[in-house]
């Protein structure tokens, strides 16, 4: 059980008196794509933010690469290899695409930096086209790509992505998920996604269902019944 | 502390210094200052903390009351009480104008306009020194001529008590409750149909008038006013009164006024290091006791009492 790369035990996160996450257990293995699914307000974003360190933890432990990081700062967690791509506020708005990426490779050494940036341009050719454009003039979909690009550029071992498909047209969603799959294969990273879109089933190895701050199920894709997931959203599991 | 006890306690505390009039002297003089600034402190308490209006210009409204009284009495020969009243009526004008001018703007810099006014005003006084005496200031005998110092002191206390009681009462009325609502959630208040602008203007008017009155009283008591007395630091000290003392309870500003006026007096022996301590204490209190002294002292009392029991 303890070979998991990232393991969360009995995590409780509260906003004031309201518990957003209640005693959650969660784990991720190396090179997996793990999805966290659930309806609005289930606590998916909170879970990712707690792992990344943007939100303080009331109780519980987060173990990553053998360290207990639940009290670590965001910067320290990033140095260890965890990075979050938030749902909003995920780009540097007034810098060019090029600069956004240049800033994000800051923790890597010289050679790796160019490699990383080239790779981002490879997967998202449109970012290369628009590399001199200011980030906040890009379209919504392109900004999403830039955000993912920033995530790649930061070269973290585990990428946490908060609802990447939100606001994207269905064709783009499929494309995005395929790209994530490709990233996982190319770079051997681990990706944790929170999603409402059921297409995540196409790429996730495992799914956790989250509702009202509690885990409802944790299953490998093969074992998962689509109905179980549907019920999560339509609320018949309680 | 129960609400009613709190109010009675506050008023009671305020009346105790009447005894100082018996002995007079230094104690009477200093407490007179405390009371005069307490008036301003309650104004700041009312306008900034209870009604949520970001106004920093209390030294200006106070100065208008003070200078207005002198100018009208000395230069235009008006009867004293009339000058005091008229200047106090003028004082809110400034606040209301600033409010209306910045009504559409948002953010911290809006509150800066009133602060800038507080910086500007003494400089204006200096520039007009032919009328106002600038830094050398103006002397004024006013009420002390009629009443003598002891009676004047008693008057100051009674007026302060009346003002404190007025504000306490006001916060309980429908208007006060609406202002509290506006300060907590402006948009909600508008959404339920309250004309927030009207109420805010009313708050500025009341605050300005009382502050002006306090300033008029001030100049009668001290017999002197100059631009140095209304420097920007004055408005900061006034603002600190409810901030340090605690704005959530009625006697909070009392503690604050004691602090702001007495601590400098107590630190006179270490005059060279005075400002350092003053600033440091402010920082420590603001950071560690963000609710001010009063609620924390209250907690301390409760803890001591429960330990005895």
């Amino acid at each position: 059980m303890d070979e998991s790369l990232l393991k969360i035990s009995e995590l409780t996160v509260c906003y004031g008196r309201i518990s957003a996450l209640k005693c959650i257990d969660f784990y991720v293995n190396d090179n997996e794509i793990v999805g966290i699914v659930g309806p609005n307000g289930a606590g998916k974003s909170t879970l990712l933010e707690a792992i990344a360190g943007s939100v303080p933890v009331r109780e519980g432990r987060i173990r990553f690469l053998g360290h207990h990081i639940q009290n670590w700062s965001v910067i320290k967690r990033r140095q260890l290899g965890l990075m979050l791509i938030p749902q909003e506020g995920n780009i540097f708005p007034m810098m060019t695409v090029k600069k956004n990426l240049e800033v994000s490779v800051i923790l890597s050494d010289r050679h790796t930096r160019d490699e990383l940036i080239d790779y981002v341009y490879q997967i998202f050719p449109i970012l290369w086209e628009r590399r001199r454009q200011t980030a906040n003039t890009l379209s919504g979909g392109q900004q999403k790509m830039l955000a993912v690009g920033i995530g790649i550029a930061s070269n973290a071992r585990v990428m946490l992505i908060d609802e990447p498909s939100i606001g994207l047209a269905p064709k783009l969603v499929t494309k995005l998920f395929d790209t994530l799959q490709r990233i996982r294969e190319d770079t051997k990273k681990t990706i944790v996604l929170s999603e409402q879109n059921i297409k995540i089933l196409n790429i996730a190895d495992r799914l956790f269902g989250l509702e009202a701050g509690e885990i409802r199920f944790d299953e490998r894709k093969e074992n998962l019944n689509r109905d179980v997931v549907k019920d999560l959203y339509l609320g018949s599991i309680s | 502390m129960k609400d009613r006890y709190e109010k009675l306690f506050s008023i009671g505390i305020l009346l105790i210094p009447l005894l100082f009039a018996i002995r007079g002297g230094y104690l009477q003089q200093v407490s007179g200052y405390v009371f005069l600034f307490l008036i301003q402190g309650y104004v700041a308490w009312f306008l900034f903390f209870k009604s949520g209006q970001p106004f920093f210009g209390y030294s200006v409204t106070m100065a208008i009351g003070a200078y207005g009284t002198i100018v009208l009495t000395v230069m235009f020969d008006w009867p004293l009480l009339l000058s005091m009243l008229v200047s106090s009526f003028f004082a809110p004008v400034v606040g209301v104008i600033l409010f209306l001018a910045t009504i559409r703007a948002r953010g911290f810099y809006v509150s800066m306009t009133s602060f800038l006014l507080a910086i500007l005003f003494p400089k204006l006084i200096n520039a007009l020194q032919d009328i106002t005496g600038g830094r050398s200031g103006l002397y004024f005998s006013g009420l002390s001529e009629f009443m003598g110092y002891k009676m004047l002191y008693v008057l100051v206390i009674l007026v302060t008590v009346a003002i404190a009681a007025l504000f306490m009462y006001l916060m309980e009325t429908k208007t006060g409750k609406i202002l509290t609502l506006i300060s907590e959630n402006d948009r909600l208040a508008e959404a339920v149909g309250i004309n927030t602008r009207k109420f805010k203007i009313a708050a500025y008017c009341i605050a300005g008038f009382i502050s002006g009155l306090g300033g008029a009283l001030y100049v009668n008591y001290t017999g002197f006013v100059s631009s140095i007395d209304i420097e920007v630091f004055t408005t900061l000290y006034i603002f600190f009164i409810p901030l340090i003392g605690g704005s959530s309870v009625f006697y909070g500003p009392i503690l604050g006024a004691l602090f702001v006026i007495l601590v400098p007096e107590l630190l006179v022996p270490v005059e060279r290091y005075f400002r350092i301590f003053f600033g440091l204490i402010f920082i420590i209190i603001i950071v560690m006791l963000p609710n001010g002294l009063a609620p924390n002292l209250q907690k301390l009392f409760v803890r001591i009492r429960s330990r005895k029991a």
Partner: protein
């Protein structure tokens, strides 16, 4: 006569622009309005004066470095932690003003007669268009422009500069990407105070430094920065030059006492009409 006014204005603007840049840099990167940098800068000026006998260069270096360290420490120990816990501008206003009191007290405690004048070497005169100006007076302006250019270049070219930009545009993401934002904040504060110190040194050599100068410089620096759009260093520079001329012309036309009155009056007007400053953007480098 007009030209004289303009030149005086530019000189004044040049001196003013240093604390203005200080405010703009600090606010631009950290989002904190720091009202104490004027007093801290004047403190540095006093330190410089103290070491004047050793050598002028040394004295200036000591003063500026001292201010940098103070700014760094204050940000690191006091301001950043409060900002992490969600301080708002009004709170920072109160705290930094109190901090100003503290440093004012320190000046008074250490220097028994807090009214000094710094004698910087006069670098001869520059003549053009029939006017002669002491070369020295222009240095402040040149220095300020140079600093501005330097900051912009650093932002575009160097790694550190890009981190500053990133930090000021999206603090949360900057942390996530691994930028040491705490360090960035502290350095920004240090630079801001160092700039204020240079401004105080110039001010002290043209006029004199006393206890209240810290507040004058600090408040003036702040309001001029706000007029230019507070985090905006270009705006601050332009605003400083314009304000310098306002001061100079109102001095000619109306006399000394009215200078500050007009200045503050204009700032209030600007705030009312265009709260985001004349260049319209608040927080950007």
């Amino acid at each position: 006569m007009l030209l004289n006014g303009i030149i005086t204005g530019l000189i004044m603007g040049g001196i003013l622009s240093l604390p203005v840049l200080g405010v703009a840099v600090i606010y631009g990167i950290t989002g904190i309005p720091n009202f104490a940098i004027g007093v801290i800068g004047v403190f540095g000026g006093f330190i410089t004066w103290y070491f004047f006998s050793v050598s002028i260069g040394f004295a200036i270096a000591v003063g500026v470095i001292a201010c940098f360290v103070i700014g760094y420490a204050v940000q690191r120990i006091l301001l950043t932690p409060i900002s992490e816990k969600g301080g708002d501008s009004t709170l920072f206003f109160i705290i930094t003003v109190s901090l100003g009191f503290v440093f004012e007290g320190i000046i008074r405690a250490i220097f028994p007669r807090p009214n000094i004048s710094l004698e910087l070497p006069r670098l001869g005169t520059v003549t053009f268009a029939g006017f002669s100006v002491e070369g020295f007076k222009i240095i402040a302006l040149v220095f300020a422009l140079g600093t501005l250019a330097l900051i912009r270049i650093m932002e575009e070219r160097t790694e550190a500069g890009k981190s500053w930009q990133a930090t000021s545009q999206n603090l949360k993401l900057a942390k996530l990407v691994g930028i040491n934002t705490t360090q960035v904040f502290s350095i920004a504060s240090g630079i801001g105070c160092a700039l204020a110190c240079v401004g105080a040194i110039f001010w002290g050599s043209l006029y004199n430094l006393e206890l209240s100068s810290g507040w004058d410089l600090g408040f003036m620096g702040f309001i001029v920065a706000v007029v230019g759009g507070i985090g905006n260093i270009w705006g601050g520079m332009i605003s400083a030059l314009i304000m310098g001329m306002v001061i100079s012309f109102s001095g000619y036309l109306l006399g000394g006492e009215w200078q500050s009155v007009i200045l503050y009056f204009i700032v209030i007007l600007v705030l009312i009409i265009a709260p985001k400053g004349i260049l319209g953007s608040e927080r950007s480098l």
